[in-house]
């Protein structure tokens, strides 16, 4: 009998062979397309793009990026598009039921990028209006993660108007509940965080689902949100909340992750709103740090999807913490070392839904942070603007203008 490691290795080799064969096959076909587009002679077409046709015809191993971009150039395709065509997988399109499973997993892993990708897939594969409604709701969840609250409200309203299927109530309720929490307490970096009516409505409408066959993890997350809201409303004292965080560590790791992180984010939201005394702020800071340390310790002993969920939640906490420090403390270059910069990069990559063009490398970011701070007045506002830009969206003037 094979060990799990051996099975994994066999699967990986199999997957890599499928990947390699697919890449070789599609490169050959892209080349054939290029030859046809350029008149039908492989020799003449190859000569024009400075490629030896035998390197394509006798190709045994995975082609280099350079070869593919040359073939693409013969079709007028830019390098990134040529590689994108060759790398595209024919197996990506799945049926709406499978996409729902992916969406549910992404929601419970707090993975904005996967939620947004699932929303696109669901809309493309929509067989019923309810598929479209669910796609809109998933997009709303992704928008809240990026701080685009107005757009999130629009998507949620569309979902509500199109109509959520009764069979989607558990999934839709979970998405709406998470987005509604993030719009108020779960994303302290959002300027003007508030309740979103359409999301609240969907959340309420799907509440009956609590009585249905609801996964335990959804119920655990809802319990975590309740505790965080109690902290925010003052019905749960910071000390009691800290005790709850510590107690939760004895339970299932995923539930601990949601409890500790939701309470921590609510604590940070209260600090961000201000208006409380020094003691209160200290208690909330202590609560946040306690939760952070507990989750870091918990993550270190885990593997797989649970660890991934905890890391997502830790990233959200880190993003919240750094945005708040930039806003309240006035960061100085000395505040940010390489490790901090890495933490910020990790967090912003996760929460931006994978907007890659914003980031270069941790070293680059650290340098960029320092030069930004040098150029700014030292109140940290520039840091916030440069590194947390999606949190508030671009400001729009309320008047019309003629550029010419």
């Amino acid at each position: 009998m094979s060990t799990p490691e051996a099975t994994w290795a066999t699967d990986a080799i199999g997957a890599s062979r499928v990947l390699r064969d697919g890449l070789v096959h599609r490169t050959r076909e892209l080349f054939a397309l290029m030859v046809t587009a350029r008149g039908g002679s492989a020799r003449a077409a190859s000569s024009e793009i400075a490629v030896d046709p035998r390197s394509i015809q006798d190709m045994r191993t995975v082609p280099s990026m350079e070869l593919v971009t040359r073939v693409g150039s013969g079709l007028g395709l830019e390098p990134h598009i040529a590689v994108g065509v060759v790398a595209s997988s024919p197996l990506e399109r799945t049926d709406p039921a499978e996409i729902r499973r992916i969406l549910a997993a992404a929601d419970l892993a707090d993975d904005s990028a996967r939620v947004a990708a699932a929303a696109v897939e669901l809309a493309l594969a929509a067989a019923q209006p309810c598929d479209l409604a669910l796609a809109q709701l998933a997009e709303a969840r992704a928008c809240v993660g990026r701080g685009e609250l107005d757009r999130a409200e629009t998507h949620a309203r569309l979902a509500r108007e199109i109509g959520i299927s009764p069979s989607d109530r558990v999934l839709a309720g979970g998405l709406a509940e998470a987005a509604a929490f993030d719009a108020t307490l779960g994303s302290p970096w959002i300027a003007g965080s508030r309740e979103l009516c359409a999301l609240e409505w969907i959340d309420e409408a799907c509440r009956g689902a609590e009585q249905l066959d609801e996964p335990v993890c959804i119920a655990q997350r809802r319990a975590a949100y309740r505790l965080a809201r109690s902290l925010a409303s003052g019905t749960l004292a910071p000390r009691a909340a800290a005790a709850l965080v510590e107690d939760s560590l004895a339970g299932p790791p995923a539930a601990s992750a949601w409890t500790a992180s939701s309470i921590a984010l609510a604590a940070l939201s209260l600090i961000a709103r201000g208006g409380h005394g020094h003691e209160h702020t200290r208690a909330m800071t202590h609560l946040f740090v306690t939760a952070q340390l507990a989750l870091e310790e918990l993550a270190s002993g885990l593997d797989g999807s649970t660890r991934s969920t905890i890391e997502s939640r830790l990233s959200r906490m880190a993003f919240a913490e750094w945005s708040l420090r930039a806003r309240l403390d006035g960061l100085t270059p000395e505040c940010i070392d390489e490790r901090d910069a890495q933490e910020i990069v990790r967090a912003s990559m996760r929460l931006d839904g994978g907007d890659p063009w914003r980031h270069c490398s941790p070293g680059h970011l650290a340098r960029s942070l320092r030069s930004t701070l040098d150029a700014s007045s030292g109140d940290g506002s520039m840091v916030e603007q440069v590194h947390f830009p999606r949190a508030s969206g671009a400001r729009m003037e309320s008047r019309s203008e003629d550029p010419c």
């Binding site: 995975v62 830019e78 598009i81 024919p90 929509a126 479209l132 990790r346 063009w357 309320s398």
Partner: protein, 426 residues
């Protein structure tokens, strides 16, 4: 010596490529919290062989890196291949007062179909733009030229840049958003398109003041939302979608109202409102879904529109192409006679191809290829050999796969149908 110089350039290029690859690998390790060994394992390489000497990785490494970063493959390639930024900027001769001239010249060049020059002028206008609105407007006209030249990817990039600018005047911000919704629809991203278009409509309707740019934004947003809802409706089992079909048709009607209001104002002649010439025909498709009595009339009208003579006037060719889209979908939903259906689809496919070839419109090219693929499959099923691909169709396939990301998951079936038939001949 020349050979030494060439060697030096090549070495510098390789060094830069290696540096970029190392940067991305470091970023992936940061993102995943991985050690070098873990990264190497994930990428299927030995830890000491993560970066080739040439800096140009094999494609499987690029795919693996994209997966590790949760980025699209295109973004990884873009980063690896983007030109170095330490070049000195070209001497700037334009002044802020030249903005209006550059802006208008760019628009004129686009109308003359000199897209490369239109883009260059728009970039120059942006470089001297001294207000946020001017910068956004320059991005807008640049995106317009990219879209007209068939580069939707670049068009979206420009519009996203424009909507990220702080302090843009409301009318121009909404216009950029509305066009973003329109291009996202053409690329197949209907969920985002519906959301962006809805936001524009809500905002524009809530504003007390009116101006032409705002009206145009409203019209384009209705147009984009109408289309995104229309294309969401499947060709089979569409009974449950009647309500959405009606909403889609209503958005087209509102787009038509905006276009009619604009058509009376100076500067908004047909040349700027080509979409307005197609609204009545495309609205027939959703109308046929919820109105049983409109079905036969829709097919008849659409066939007549496609058969009308003349394509040289602005908007006429586009009108025929939209009529073809509506006709193909309506016929597939409602025509029961196979011979009649086949004839109608042939007509639609030819009209779409003609417009796509003439204008590099990949949305229409995609629709044409879908119809053509169905026809080819039917021929093969009947034991007939399908016609080999010609050079023009090969370019259409490449353009569609390049500019319509949603089409890429069908690339294998396109290649199966087309590429191997003629290519590879020495």
């Amino acid at each position: 010596m020349l050979t030494d110089e060439i060697g030096g350039v090549e070495a510098a290029r390789e060094a830069l490529a290696r540096e970029r690859l190392e940067e991305l690998q470091a970023l992936a390790r940061t993102y995943r919290n991985w050690s070098v060994k873990e990264l190497a394992h994930a990428l299927g390489r030995q830890p000491g062989r993560l970066v080739p000497d040439s800096g140009m990785p094999k494609i499987d490494l690029v795919v693996g890196l994209a997966k590790a970063l949760d980025w699209p493959v295109e973004a990884v390639v873009d980063h690896l291949m983007k030109p170095t930024t330490d070049r000195k900027p070209a001497v700037q001769q334009d002044r802020a007062t030249d903005y209006a001239q550059l802006y208008n010249e760019s628009l004129q060049k686009r109308l003359e179909r000199d897209y490369a020059e239109a883009i260059r002028l728009a970039v120059r206008a942006r470089a001297i733009a001294d207000t946020p609105t001017r910068r956004a407007a320059a991005f807008y006209i640049e995106s317009f030229a990219h879209e007209a030249s068939g580069s939707y990817v670049e068009a979206v990039r420009c519009l996203r840049e424009a909507v990220r600018i702080d302090g843009v005047a409301l009318n121009w911000r909404l216009l950029c958003d509305a066009h973003l919704a329109s291009v996202l629809f053409m690329q197949g991203f209907t969920t985002q398109s519906i959301g962006v278009a809805s936001s524009v409509i809500e905002y524009a309707d809530s504003v007390a003041s009116e101006d032409d740019v705002l009206e145009l934004a409203r019209g384009v947003a209705h147009w984009a939302k109408g289309h995104s809802l229309r294309t969401s409706i499947p060709l089979a089992n569409f009974e449950a979608w009647q309500n959405l079909a009606q909403i889609s048709r209503d958005h087209f009607l509102r787009a038509e109202e905006s276009a009619s209001r604009l058509a009376t104002r100076p500067g908004f002649e047909t040349k700027n409102l080509t979409f307005a010439t197609s609204i009545d025909v495309i609205a027939l498709e959703p109308a046929a879904i919820f109105d049983e009595g409109a079905r036969e009339r829709a097919v008849r009208t659409l066939v007549e529109v496609i058969r009308e003579g003349g394509t040289s006037q602005p908007g006429v060719s586009e009108r025929k192409a939209w009529a073809s889209v509506a006709l193909a979908n309506t016929a597939k939903r409602f025509l029961t006679d196979p011979m009649q259906l086949r004839g109608v689809l042939e007509l639609a496919s030819s009209a779409l191809r003609a417009h796509a070839v003439a204008t590099n419109n990949w949305y229409f090219a995609h629709r044409h290829l879908q119809l053509d693929a169905e026809r080819r499959r039917a021929l093969v099923d009947n034991g007939c050999a399908s016609r080999a691909l010609d050079a023009t169709e090969a370019r259409l396939v490449a353009g569609v796969l390049g500019q319509i990301p949603a089409a890429r998951s069908d690339s294998v079936s396109y290649f199966e149908l087309y590429a191997v038939q003629e290519g590879g001949r020495s």
